[in-house]
Assembly symmetry: C2
Homo-oligomer: 803 residues x 2
């Protein structure tokens, strides 16, 4: 007899008991109901309650879904429900094995939250029919945990981020318990492996608790899982080494497992409360307590077919997806499916109208305590706009363009300091970064906060506090995962990162972009704060490092995501950076990428002009050009801080050497403006584009990143054939900033050469000027090898406006 189908009475006499007989029956009924609904979703088009004998016409034509992990997820869900009621917990879940989508649809349907978000799928026979049919069905719901699942903040497709998301959700939510199921497959990924260490950054007094549940069901798609195949002593040492106290729930006999799980959950909830209580009332509490972790070891595909066609399935990798693959064609498989589904005794779980019976729902919490209803998992419900200072109040002085110097991110640091100060009572804004907040010159924030750290400290340490607004760890994965978890639960944040290494989270960005794209079209999902990147140590200023630190391709990566989700800003100076940052921090449901340098550079625009320029996204720097009321002979365009300096230096040279040439300078802050308005909501219309770039004049465009991106954005424009783009072309090493420009042919001398090569009828002097520029590049090469620094004329260059 399948253990799952055995009546509970035999085991029910075991002592000592956490579950009395009623509770044991109720938690088991809930589990069986969820398992039944899981199988139904994978297999059935019709006959949802098995009112008639199952025939192949009731079965879906394409059998898709993942059974293997689902009974374990259902088991956890049932027991969390019990604990929420028993302890009045404020809890949410994060499901690492996110391909167990049907388990979560089942549980949220049972608790009623699914119907609240998708009213057509009622909690009755008709709704059950739709629930089954829609799953992994064209036009229906996906097979993975996704935004469509109430209570989820987790895109379940790509593995590795559950625990990081859970910690991000728990930060600054002192009353929240985040239960996080970690699959043993997922546990092999790098991001998950380092996420265990997040306990060194969680403050028991001011943050909530994360309860990791390591689910060892033994197998991945085709292989055993590493953590399921190391000796218990090693596993125990590993989890203790990560700083946790392990509790083991292992077995397969349902009654015994219910009792063991219930008592273990009660125990760990008590331990968590004791830790929090001590931390919140006692000054001598340990800074970093030993948090509990549950190790749940159950067979893969638990309660499913034990054998199929003579080979073992339950407890093996063969249970991963659809354990009975041939149901529509193979009568034996069909009979086995029916036996399997009936083993859950649906007649004891649902009434004639398909509604779950009282025994099934007895363990389910009510109202917002239901995990599918917690507002924390629909963060927009809790989101409050940040109290943002006016960026103009922090503006760098700018009497005339280019006269004063300023370090853009240092000034932004002061702005963020005020953001944090204003937020001190609310505590819903954090900065994340891999060890670089100070290196990126945002360190003014340390005047009002510190880096949250609950590891050991030494007297020489600086800015380490138990409760700080800065989270730093040398893992871009953890930073990104924490920030995503923080945003998805209704808070605000900024991730500052080296440009080259933000590629480490490319794949995580994809998943977040996909989450946002879907969420934006689910009316019940409320908008959340945007995911903001500040990329400050960028390709052109890697003076201390070199080639390995030079890659501006993250912009290209995010541009592939849906236009409604992504925004890229390249502010040319301090005041535009402030304006862009304030805009991004106030925005919702976007991924904003801001690229800005940290080194001293000229302030081009005063605060008001900067705000206007950023609002327009792109515009003519009239003070820098000399077209007057005429048509320009050439357009020099720039996007990015370093390219802007270089274009302005090139226009100086042009005015000096070819004063009759009429040049226009166009600066692009918002890269999406370049696209057609049909492709992106920020895109310019063709007349707007033509007004800036003309329809026929040569355009020399100096761009921060890989040059072909500009072509990709503009290939449909009238003047595209005259567009010539300079940018980074993978030439670099440890060298001076100007040498980087020369190596990539984006230096001022080359830009002048580009103008001369493209503007016709420049007169006889042009050839001589061209030679002078070539000579200057040659002089640079000689000088830098000799002196290790840039030509004095470059080093000491300052902007002089046209007369």
């Amino acid at each position: 007899m399948n253990p799952a189908t055995r009546p509970l009475s035999e085991a029910a006499t075991l002592a000592p008991r956490t579950l009395d007989a009623d509770a044991a029956r109720e938690v088991d009924a809930l589990w069986r109901a969820a398992n039944y609904l899981t199988v139904g979703q994978i297999y059935l088009m019709d006959n949802p309650l098995l009112r008639e004998e199952l025939v192949s016409e009731h079965v879906k034509p394409r059998l898709l879904g993942h059974w293997g992990t689902s009974p374990g997820l259902n088991f956890v869900y049932a027991h969390l429900n019990r604990a929420i009621r028993a302890h009045e917990l404020n809890a949410m879940y994060v499901i690492g094995p996110g391909h167990g989508g049907p388990a979560l649809f089942a549980n949220t349907w049972l608790e009623g939250t699914y119907t609240e978000t998708e009213p057509g799928v009622t909690r009755d026979l008709d709704g059950m029919h739709r629930l089954f049919r829609q799953f992994s069905f064209p036009g229906g719901v996906p097979s993975h945990v996704a935004p469509q699942v109430p209570g989820s903040i987790h895109e379940g497709g790509e593995l590795g981020y559950s625990l990081a998301h859970a910690y991000g959700a728990a930060f600054d939510n002192p009353d929240l318990l985040v239960a996080c199921v970690v699959g043993d497959g997922e546990a092999e990924t790098g991001p998950l492996a380092t996420s265990w260490h997040a306990n060194k950054f969680l403050n028991p007094a001011t943050d909530g608790a994360v309860l990791p549940i390591l689910h060892l069901n033994g197998y991945k798609i085709a292989n055993p899982a590493v953590l399921a195949r190391i000796p218990r002593a090693e596993l125990d040492a590993l989890l203790r080494g990560y700083g946790y106290e392990p509790h083991y729930v292992e077995g397969h006999e349902p009654a015994a497992m219910h009792e063991l799980m219930a008592s273990t959950v009660d125990r760990v909830v008590t331990d968590i409360r004791a830790i929090q209580c001590e931390a919140r009332i006692s000054a001598t509490a340990p800074v970093r307590p030993r948090w509990p972790v549950i190790v749940l070891r159950t067979p893969k595909g638990w309660t499913g077919p034990s054998e199929v066609d003579g080979v073992k399935v339950e407890g093996t990798w063969r249970a991963h997806q659809v354990p009975l693959p041939g149901v529509r064609e193979n009568p034996e498989h069909l009979r086995q499916l029916e036996r399997w589904m009936r083993s859950y005794r649906p007649e004891e779980l649902f009434d004639l109208d398909g509604r779950p019976l009282a025994e099934v729902t007895a363990m389910i919490p009510v109202g917002d305590r239901r995990m599918g209803a917690t507002p924390h998992a629909n963060g927009g419900l809790l989101l409050r706009p940040l109290d943002l200072p006016d960026p103009r109040s922090h503006a760098a002085p700018c009497e005339r363009p280019g006269v004063t110097l300023s370090e853009p991110t240092r000034v932004l640091g002061r702005y963020l300091r005020e953001v944090i100060e204003r937020d001190s009572a609310r505590r819903d804004f954090r900065l994340f970064g891999p060890d670089e907040t100070a290196s990126n010159r945002l360190d003014a924030v340390y005047e009002v906060t510190g880096k949250q750290w609950t590891g050991e400290t030494l007297p020489v340490d600086e800015h380490l506090v138990r409760d700080g607004r800065v989270s730093e760890v040398l893992s871009e994965h953890l930073c990104q995962g924490w920030l995503e978890g923080y945003l998805l639960t209704g808070r605000h944040g900024l991730f500052s990162c080296y440009e080259a290494f933000v590629h480490i989270v490319d794949s995580m960005v994809n998943q977040h972009a996909k989450w946002l794209k879907i969420s934006r079209h689910l009316p019940w999902r409320r908008p959340i704060a945007s995911l903001n990147y500040l990329i400050t140590s960028h390709v052109w200023r890697q003076d201390n490092n070199g080639f390995s630190h030079q890659d501006p391709g993250f912009i290209d990566h995010v541009m592939n995501k849906k236009a409604e989700v992504v925004r890229v800003y390249l502010p040319p100076d301090t005041n535009t950076l402030l304006s862009v940052a304030a805009h991004c921090l106030a925005s919702r449901d976007y991924i904003n990428v801001i690229v800005a340098g940290k080194n001293d550079s000229p302030v081009w625009l005063d605060a008001d002009t900067a705000a206007l320029h950023c609002a327009r996204g792109a515009g003519i720097f009239t003070w820098a050009g000399n077209e007057g009321d005429n048509e320009p002979d050439v357009v020099l365009a720039c996007a990015g801080d370093v390219p802007t300096v270089e274009v302005l230096a090139a226009t100086s040279l042009l005015r000096q050497h070819l004063p009759w040439l009429r040049a226009r300078v166009v600066n692009v802050v918002d890269l999406m403006r370049l696209q057609p308005d049909t492709e992106h909501p920020h895109g310019m219309t063709d007349p707007e584009f033509d007004a800036l770039f003309t329809t026929h004049t040569p355009v020399i465009f100096a761009y921060h990143g890989y040059p072909w991106l500009i072509h990709r954005l503009t290939y449909r424009r009238t003047n595209h054939p005259n567009l010539h783009v300079r940018g980074y072309k993978e030439e670099g090493t440890t060298t001076t900033p100007f040498d980087m420009l020369v190596r990539n042919d984006m230096d001022r001398f080359q830009l002048v050469i580009d103008v001369i090569d493209r503007v016709t009828a420049l007169g006889p002097r042009a050839a001589a000027v061209r030679q002078q520029m070539t000579d200057a590049r040659q002089r640079h090469h000689v000088w830098i090898r000799e002196h290790g620094e840039d030509l004095p004329e470059v080093r000491d260059w300052t902007w002089n406006p046209p007369k």
Copy 2:
């Protein structure tokens, strides 16, 4: 007195001793010499041996480099040298803290290998002068470990991959010891955190040994490191939990540390040999032994300035880069630098000509035992071409195009089975993948090999062996890191991966591409086998999953790398896949991306035609078009297996409904062919391009990935204004393959509509046909919601050639 400068005699009497007095002096002299040369590289332009008083003109204008980690790296290098001599080891190193570049330049200069690769930097005073000057200097060498460093296989810029590289190097190298320094900063990254588990995949009988040296120097750029701030008991538990036996070398007093490190290294080398000996002669040896790990805890910036300007530097994060920042301007800093450098007693280390004295070189091994000279770290020296079968011997039958069906990757699996068979004696080819070799239908390889696994096994497991050619772990980072390590040490491999999740290693690909770009221009670095990706579960066939598994952007990502390094292939069928795969496996120094489906699909080309088509990279499918001897009215182009089917289906519809329209079908296998020949070595000349795509005819291009990539590649071509591209535009869910095409407007009906909308003068029938196509799309929507599968006319479609 700085401990580093104290004569060794005081400590030299401690008992019991591994180092006698001579050895203790020699290892210390080597360490001091390397430290001296490290400081010299960071600071000095001139006066390298301090023959005269140091003045600011001797100091570099830009002080760049990382001192903090370097003395520890030098300490390790000196002791590995000693152990290589003492135990006749065949050893190489991998340096996780790769920003310690000057330490490695110092050591390889001392052992002579640097001069052998860079003859201008002689091992004398003139060479020392050049060594110092070139470091982090324009036109010189980068500040990080890089291809320029002999003995390195490791790009030191991005942290996290050292241990994965080390294991990859050790696979199938039974006599090799790979010493791998793991920095405590790097240890926080996800990839490193999971790399510890690689010991479950290393076979002590047939693989070499990895000796991890976890270097706890306490700080990153600005923060304490997590592993340096957990209690010893937790650290010990963690490393034991990972399956290692920890050995601790902790302190700062040089003499005691030398003795402790020497005795510890002797102990672990003896343990490693005992493990290997047992595994190689005894059938009862443990499958997975407990390998040793050394924990080295030393102060950051050890032996450097203890305090600067009254604040503590040695042993803190302030020692990370340049501990005395103001040397050129601040006379006190200048004096402190001179004292620091003289504390190493250079006069005892170098003769008057700047050559290292005998006491310094006594511990250095000779010939290829020097770590900078091991051929394993210049893998091309050891590389032997694979004995590749003729792909035609595995070809799928193809009497006429499109008549037979074939699963491309299943056939490739048979080809790879033969590759592995032929390689069985040499053992220098491996397949890597995250749990998907069978799912990707390459499982024919299991007829001749298995998955290497040294964890516990159960009777139900399949294909797990101690010594196999397949390495599977659910971490794309580990797969990529292992493969890189395997290739860089002169072997061959293939990484098969889900398309969406290969983005997980975007950043690792960047670093490998940068490594290859630099290596190709270092004549002493011999070419290595290419890094080959097989992307099989691609965006169009994620039937079991959904939106989260749909992202074809990896192609865009690799396209940003240097043209000489990257290649992208989209074979349209089984026989072209075989041809492309054989080509890639034989190639050198590239990153090859092959995108190919696993599902049954038509075979379009017989083996010979496929080989020719792949050699051309792009060509006209004359059998599919109906232009005859005339100019075509439209070109239908395709790149990718699914787009090819769809384009051919569209041409069928066109022939049926608009028989007078002359269509040409162009198929692109090698995506780089689309670029101008000036941009990529595979690029077509304009006349070649025009011959395929014409100069004036509308082109409808169905492309596998994001459509704008095709525009980026072709915007300079004459006919670009007439090019209309369809591709994936981020619309997807769990649905049928054909519905995916409809959602992204790349289905056959839409392609016909595109043709009608772009070809002028099609006659009165065109509007009616257009309406029919629109109706067909509508019919699809209704049918699929009802039946959950595709329209019968689509499902049962087969190719009929033009008459």
